[in-house]
């Protein structure tokens, strides 16, 4: 009888089956790839990405066209000059209108980006996919971070594409009216970068809220409510009751209002006598928006870790 080798001995035991893929470990890079596949295998992603780019470019073209009509209408121009002289209206020539026309679509892109970011996580809960996800990669926080990275990259890239297209389609009309974006002006550069940053932070906030609520409709309603509905209601109240200081303070700390300062400082916007509403400094405003995003994500991280899937 031959000597008992370790192999033979192992054969004697009721052997534990070992997968032939047992050396295929999970890793963060692989999770990113999985999240990438998840994202682009859903139609909703393509819709949201397409809508974001079309909104940014289309609105830019629309605003440029309107501006072109206004500037080439002698009656309106005469009226505006009169208003400016009496101090009632805004003197258009004081602002770089071209850059505003190019970036203004970001406010509408916030809507689509928020929907996209919320759904990145809530569609997993609504479909039950989250159980497959957490079975494959049980370290839940990493799933959230992988999604965060994918959402950040996607949002940043489509914002840049949206802005580039917005600049491109409005170029002929802006050129005609001598309103082209001045790339040597640091304020205008800040607007362009700011639009991208604000969209990314909006996506962060939306992902955080989606992770906390786990519900598509609830998540979208919460984010859009806070970004669109609350500011418009509060804005009107502030306008009619400017002496309520605490209300103005709340208003300027709202995420959309705070974030806007880095893209289009309030004075450049309609909103009645913009000067009566105090605003945060551009980068302070962005910091406030970022704080909202980080707090929402922290809450999301806590919930994803603690609550049953």
């Amino acid at each position: 009888m031959s000597a008992i080798t370790p192999e033979a001995l192992q054969h004697e035991l009721p052997e534990q089956y070992v997968s032939r893929f047992a050396d295929h470990r999970i890793g963060f890079g692989k999770m990113l790839r999985s999240e990438w596949l998840k994202m682009w295998t859903l139609r909703s992603t393509w819709w949201m990405v397409g809508a974001t780019i079309v909104l940014m470019a289309g609105l830019s073209l629309l605003f440029a066209a309107v501006m072109n009509l206004v500037l080439n209408d002698p009656d309106i121009m005469a009226q505006m000059a009169e208003n400016a002289a009496t101090g009632e209206g805004i003197d258009m020539t004081q602002f770089a209108v071209g850059i505003i026309i190019v970036v203004l679509g970001y406010q509408f892109a916030q809507l689509t980006v928020a929907v996209f970011a919320v759904m990145t996580i809530t569609n997993e809960y609504s479909s039950g996919m989250i159980r497959a996800t957490f079975s494959a990669t049980p370290r839940r926080l990493r799933t959230l971070w992988a999604k965060l990275i994918m959402v950040t990259l996607t949002t940043a890239v489509i914002s840049v594409i949206g802005l580039a297209l917005a600049w491109l389609v409005s170029y002929p009309l802006l050129d005609r009216n001598n309103m082209l974006v001045d790339f040597s002006d640091s304020t205008q550069i800040r607007s362009l970068i700011g639009a991208v940053l604000v969209l990314v932070m909006t996506a962060w906030f939306a992902l955080g809220i989606g992770t906390v609520l786990r519900h598509t409709a609830g998540g979208i309603a919460t984010v859009l409510g806070l970004f669109m509905v609350v500011p418009s209601i509060l804005g009107i109240i502030v306008m009619f009751a400017p002496d309520l200081a605490w209300l103005s303070t709340i208003y300027k700390f709202l995420p959309s209002e705070a974030g806007q300062q880095i893209v289009i400082p309030s004075i450049g916007m309609g909103m009645g006598g913009g000067a009566t509403v105090p605003s945060l400094e551009p980068w302070h405003g962005f910091a406030v928006l970022s704080a909202y995003a980080v707090i929402a994500l922290a809450a999301g991280a806590l919930v994803i870790k603690k609550r049953d899937a």
């Binding site: 070992v18 997968s19 295998t41 497959a132 494959a136 049980p138 899937a309």
Partner: protein
């Protein structure tokens, strides 16, 4: 190998899984059997780390599932038919999962072929039938070629051919030395598929034994005898080699027969005619002489009768089909929801027989 120790889970103040301990061994099919709401799915979700136990631990192959470096090669789970986004195709779904472990693309095709999904692999899951969804769930579970498989109600929604397929698959996988843990609420299905059974009811383990053992205990036959002369008859039966068991009194026994001083015994080892002869020779009057043999299904019903979450009411008699001894009902706390449920009756925590 799955090992649960004192595992418990509360949802609010409801105890879904009540301090259970069990082992699921490799190389055999272990059935996890219990009525709806008994805690099967909750237990399986806890094994997968999806639900956090209120107390206790559950290990898979020596450690908590979440601590494995290659989770899908350790455990493959079919938890619910639709843990799948309806907007993706079957192939896309599997590729998403395969990417997390960088399994080769060819493995995705393998499990698609293995589960018979080849013709629908590039169709959106949203259009799948329940059975196809179930097959995709099984394909997902098999993806990592795992050493442990957990299938929660795998035959739900499958046609007879599919049921047979799952049965053979489970047996084949166990035959390779894998741990196969299969839940069902159907005893008949489990009797055909499983080697070992863990029966759960109301979050507690009611039985943990080889199927063969359960079958044997179920197929015991006995004769129910009601007589005023219990002592005399028992002695005669035992002298003739029979075994006498005095069952716990049931509600109707207690009321109707108590006055007449009639006792009930269950005799095994002797046939009804023999007992009749013995009664005659001992001069004992018989009120009842009923041969009883229970099927496996009945044994299961008997085992879980007290732990069925929702008792049906027999429409003919307007009484509960599962008769509960009145003495167990008396002391137990009543569930507050009980009064609000017109048809389904939330049973209270009765003691096990």
């Amino acid at each position: 190998m799955i090992e649960a120790r004192n595992l418990a889970k509360n949802y609010g103040d409801k105890r879904a899984v009540d301090n259970i301990s069990f082992k699921v061994q490799p190389g055999i099919v272990t059935g996890f059997l219990g009525p709806n709401g008994a805690g099967k799915s909750t237990t399986m979700r806890m094994i997968m780390g999806l639900d956090k136990p209120t107390s206790g631990t559950v290990y898979v192959n020596g450690k908590p599932y979440a601590q494995h470096k290659s989770p899908l090669t350790q455990v493959g789970a079919l938890l619910e038919a639709r843990a799948i986004h309806p907007g993706r195709t079957a192939r896309q779904h599997l590729r998403v999962l395969a990417a997390t472990h960088s399994f080769p693309i060819s493995r995705v095709d393998e499990v698609i072929d293995l589960t018979g999904l080849t013709s629908v692999a590039d169709k959106r899951v949203g259009g799948f039938s329940l059975g196809m969804g179930q097959r995709l769930g099984i394909a997902s579970a098999l993806l990592g070629n795992p050493s442990t498989l957990i299938f929660d109600e795998p035959v739900n929604g499958l046609d007879p051919e599919g049921v047979l397929w799952v049965r053979n698959l489970a047996r084949y996988l166990a035959g390779q030395g894998r741990t196969v843990f299969l839940s069902s609420h159907l005893m008949s299905e489990m009797a055909l598929t499983a080697d070992h059974l863990i029966v759960i009811g109301k979050g507690k383990i009611l039985a943990d034994m080889p199927v063969q053992e359960l079958v044997e205990s179920a197929s015991k036959r006995y004769v129910r005898v009601a007589t005023p002369g219990v002592a005399a008859l028992s002695a005669a039966v035992q002298a003739a080699g029979g075994v006498v068991v005095v069952p716990a009194p049931s509600a109707d026994d207690a009321t109707a027969r108590h006055a007449a001083n009639v006792g009930v015994i269950e005799v095994s080892g002797l046939e009804a005619p023999d007992i009749g002869e013995l009664a005659l020779t001992s001069g004992v009057v018989l009120h009842e002489l009923t041969p009883i043999s229970s099927t496996l299904e009945e044994a299961y019903m008997e085992l879980t009768a007290d732990s069925v979450e929702y008792h049906t009411i027999d429409v003919n008699t307007r009484e509960h089909t599962t008769t509960e001894p009145s003495y167990t009902a008396a002391g137990a706390p009543k569930a507050p929801a009980e009064a609000d449920m017109p048809v389904a009756h939330l049973s209270n925590e009765g003691g096990q027989r």
